[in-house]
């Protein structure tokens, strides 16, 4: 038997989580380094997986299959296609940055009583690694039940990450408000956000559970590959209504996770209240599971129902795009602004998936990756900014670029990536999504293009209000990016630039998978007019 690479990619962070959690209370720094080491090891494994993956080969590669719960035909089945492996790589890539960015986020407060049992730092990093393990495994799972379990289980560490760790009070000279009552209110807000996140996603998951069971009843197996094959060769046919109901059950859960309008309201709260690295974890990593699952499960398992639901979903996605962008413009809290921007971007991703064209779906997959990187860059820099002043309010800043030009510069690049400037990677994906949508649904494509203008609006307004103008007195002594922070941001920016100019390695991996998916739903790209005329 060959080395179980995919299991290893998930097992390593899981081990790391346990190891980090076991570090004694006094040795905080060791825990951090341990977590970083494990995440880097995972990254190395992910790179190996990426290299071993053959773009032109079988649909699912590096597969593993073991009996698990034989009574219900549940198997531990892993395998990645191009989409899965690239998202796996994204996750493995982002987590080290998240860890590094959150280096001091979970340090115990100085005035806290020393307590041998109290180990927030260890907990924080262990939870991050646990999330990583589960997300990675969910990208690999080809068994619906296994996927479901992971889909739900990752909520638990996320819940604690959101509810347990908030923004730190700033050093006294930058503090916007006196600590004390504010802290308590923040803690209340945070637990509200965490509970909301949990309940929202659990509700989605519960409906999905019903659909998973329904699927088992109909198909008699949980194996994605088997079901997809049976559907393709016609040996498994579902009644139209059954298929639609099952599809909706799955889709609802994914739409909550993604999140799609009008199921989005948990995201701004969660991202606003969590620390910036955790917010990145939410939007750049965990939420991708939702869109990924739409592509993998909704379309493969229920091709007819997917086509049936396409118009409605496209309209919802369109609303997400415009609505998210407009709300982002109206935000006063920069983390919430980024959250709404993410909602807008998720609208693009979902639109690309359901445009059912190769450009749309490739674009959507690239979008997932690029959005992960760009949001990570923007959010982490925003987090560095917030950590210096202790306030998330845009109005508390002004003229930062004068005192911290490097910070402002990286912030601008992150922002430009968010508004999809050509030359940065999000442009590639956004344009592909738009083209893919436009070629089948011109009106929707044109309206979605409005998102481009609105994105520019909210990014530039954010930049203008925080970075330009006269320097506010409170931030006159604000330090520029430190080395650790630069180490976090610089590679992300380099990646944004590289993938913006040379996304071919990625499209090569993703393309065949998208072709498979399109053949599952039996759709082909529309022919251009001139060619059609000839």
């Amino acid at each position: 038997m060959s080395f179980p690479l995919l299991t290893a990619t998930a097992a390593l962070p899981a081990l790391g989580a346990i190891a980090t959690a076991a570090v004694p209370a006094a040795r905080r720094t060791a825990a951090k380094w341990l977590a970083l080491l494990f995440s880097l090891g995972t990254l190395a494994l992910a790179v190996v997986a990426l290299v071993r993956f053959e773009p032109g080969g079988a649909r699912y590669q590096l597969t593993e299959s073991h009996a698990w719960i034989a009574e219900f035909g549940v198997r531990y089945e892993l395998g990645v296609d191009g989409i899965g492996v690239s998202l796996l790589a994204l996750t493995a890539l982002l987590v080290p940055f998240v860890i590094l960015a959150g280096w001091h986020d979970a340090d115990p407060l100085e005035d806290a009583r020393p307590n041998r049992r109290w180990r927030p730092t260890q907990g924080f990093f262990a939870l991050i690694l646990a999330v990583e393990a589960m997300v990675i495994l969910s990208f690999e799972a080809t068994d619906v039940f296994l996927f479901y379990i992971l889909f739900e289980a990752m909520l638990i560490p996320m819940y604690f990450l959101i509810g347990g760790f908030g923004d730190r009070a700033a050093p006294a000279q930058f503090a916007a408000k006196a600590a004390g009552a504010g802290d308590e209110a923040a803690a209340t807000q945070r637990s509200y956000a965490a509970v909301k996140f949990l309940l929202y996603n659990l509700a989605g998951g519960l409906i999905m559970l019903a659909a998973v069971i329904g699927l088992y009843v109909v198909a008699g197996t949980f194996s994605l590959t088997e079901i997809a094959e049976a559907r393709a060769n016609g040996s498994l046919s579902m009644a139209t209504n059954t298929e639609r109901l099952l599809f909706l059950g799955f889709f609802f859960a994914f739409a909550v996770k993604a999140p799609l309008w009008p199921l989005h309201t948990w995201l701004p709260n969660a991202m606003g209240e969590a620390t910036a690295p955790v917010a990145v974890l939410i939007t750049a990593v965990v939420d991708k599971v939702g869109t990924f699952a739409m592509l993998r499960f909704c379309l493969q398992l229920f091709p007819e129902a997917s086509k049936w639901a396409t118009p409605a979903i496209l309209v919802l996605a369109l609303i997400s795009i415009v609505y998210g962008a407009l709300l982002a413009v109206g935000q006063r809290d920069m983390k919430r602004l980024i959250a709404y921007a993410s909602i807008s971007h998720f609208g693009f991703i979902i639109m690309g998936i359901f445009a059912m064209t190769s450009q749309g779906q490739s674009g959507a997959t690239l979008y997932m990756i690029n959005h992960g990187i760009s949001t990570a860059a923007l959010m982490l820099v925003a987090g560095f900014l917030i950590s210096r002043r202790g306030s998330r309010l845009i109005a508390d800043y002004g003229g930062v670029q004068k005192v911290a030009p490097v910070l402002a510069g990286t912030f601008l690049i992150g922002g430009l990536a968010t508004l999809s400037l050509p030359g940065l990677s999000p442009f590639v994906s956004e344009f592909l999504v738009l083209v893919g949508t436009f070629s089948r649904y011109p009106v929707i494509g044109v309206i979605a293009t409005l998102g481009i203008v609105l994105a520019a609006l909210y990014v530039l307004v954010l930049y203008q209000r925080t970075m330009t103008g006269p320097v506010k007195a409170e931030i006159r002594t604000m330090p520029d990016l430190r080395v650790r922070e630069l180490v976090v941001v610089a590679p992300l920016i380099a990646l944004l630039l590289f993938l913006g100019v040379y996304p071919k390695p990625l499209t090569q991996i993703v393309d065949p998978a998208v072709e498979h998916t399109l053949s599952d739903v039996q759709k082909t790209d529309p022919k251009p007019e001139v060619e059609a005329a000839r």
Binding site: L460, Q464, G469, E531
Partner: protein, 648 residues
Amino acid sequence: MENLIAPLIAAPLLGAAVLLCGGRRLDRAGHWIGTVLAGASFVIGVLLFADLLGRGAEDRTLHQHLFSWIPVGSFRADIAFQLDQLSMTFVLLITGVGTLIHIYSIGYMEHDERRRRFFGYLNLFLAAMLLLVLADNYLLLYMGWEGVGLASYLLIGFWQHKPSAATAAKKAFLVNRVGDLGLSIAIMLMFTTFGTFAFGPVLGAAGDASEGKLTAIGLMLLLAACGKSAQVPLQSWLGDAMEGPTPVSALIHAATMVTAGVYLITRSGAIFNGAPDAQLVVVVVGAVTLLFGAIVGCAKDDIKKALAGSTMSQIGYMILAAGLGPIGYVFAIMHLVTHGFFKAGLFLGAGSVMHGMNDEVDMRKYGGLRKYMPVTFVTFGLGYLAIIGFPGLSGFFSKDKIIEAAFAKGGTEGWILGGVALLGAAITAFYMTRVMLMTFFGEERWRGRETASPAEPSAEPAAEERGRHAEPHPHESPKSMTIPMVVLAFGSVFAGGLFSFGDSFVRWLEPVTGYAHGHPPISAAAVTTATVVALVIGVAVAWLMYGRVPVPVTAPRGSLLTRAARRDLLQDDFNHVVLVRGGEHLTRSLVYVDHTLVDGVVNGTAASFGGLSGRLRKLQNGYARSYAVTMFGGTAVLIAATLLMRAV
């Protein structure tokens, strides 16, 4: 030789990368690195030009394919370049004027502590602009298109600590984004129509597509051009863009970037040729902007804003010409080039004046400066003569041809367009003469006055060090600033004649843009005469108003039209009321809706469950016996159910 195309772009790109990432270590040498790399780019351009000249007229297209950019299914975008006569013209203009302005900036930005970054941005702009004109497909062009937008954003907002500059930069980017919307939709349309968006296949197959599609593409391209070239209705950003340092205004907002729209329309000539309706819209936009810019230019007291209005108007001429089809493309480009020379010269002159006047921009506080800055006066004057179309100078040749072509459009349209163009020429002469008179002639109105009063914030922050509130001491600018002005003045004087000599420019561009000789209903000589008459009238009126009588230091209230023109013909107010206020209200109400309605439904669901639980909670009265009853009842029900099942 085609391998030299990439280095052409790479040189300034490298400069930008080095200067922006290099940090403070490069502060002392930064401007030299930037200038040298811009110059290198110009040298490569000249080499390529020489190579092209050495080839046959039909063989003057070079291609360089670097790598496949976005290959997805049938969607193929490449990083590939195409250098033909049209691109070459632009390359020389961009790198040539660009290098001169780099040199100028060395002196102009000497006191600015962030000069290194300024040069980085300038280099970035050069790279993006070259990418724009050298791309061989629309998507890559789009990349350049947005790239220049970014550079423009960064440079307009270069003095970011000034809120007005930051706002102007944001406004420029946003308005441009609206235009970019057009370009991206145009590219999508091309993809669905032709299956590709590379120049060759698209323009080659343009004839096969339906006219409706072509019109749609054309209109979208026009929207893009309107955004970038500040044409009505997306012109509002250009005036505000003057918040940027003057070299920026000269390079980006006069000579090169704003003309990208003209390039786009000319480049897409094949599409417009197949879509007469789109062409009509193009000429209408051109004509309207021509008058709009000219009228705005007449009313502004800020020297740079007056010039900006003029830029708008001149680009209106170019767009008008480009909309005329094959009879106008060549002249549009020709006017573009000559305009590039004289308008850059004028801006640099204006910068030089401001440099000597403690960064005062209000022309009403100038006057009689010709004695103090002779070189500036002469170069500015030559530029002035060129732009008003003084016979024999560059502007005369190019503008005259456009007016001629406008008449040649034929029918009522031709008369109207020709008339508008002539009127525009007259107004141009008026406002440029006004600028000239107010700046270099008349009383020395700056005597005994503080400059840069708080009401008119200084454009250049370096003014702080140079004695902000002192009376200005007008002086000539350093060599690094005057030399580029002189070079550009040469261009303004001779370029037109050179191009027209033996129709060399027409023959040079014809293989790319095509050329059809227009036949105006009146003779060419009559058109020329009319142009000159219009010019004389304009100059005369201006002299009567500003030369013969002293200019008041504070602006008179003026007529309704004047006041409207000072406010950019109220377009900003319209934008403000409709878009900004409306948008604010929309977002605010949406935030409210999101909080109360969408989230309200969610929280309401949670609350209703909470309420239900509260009711159910009452069952939990704590009495064990009460629970026992429930349990006992449950058991009874279970037995009943079992019995029932057995019975059934």
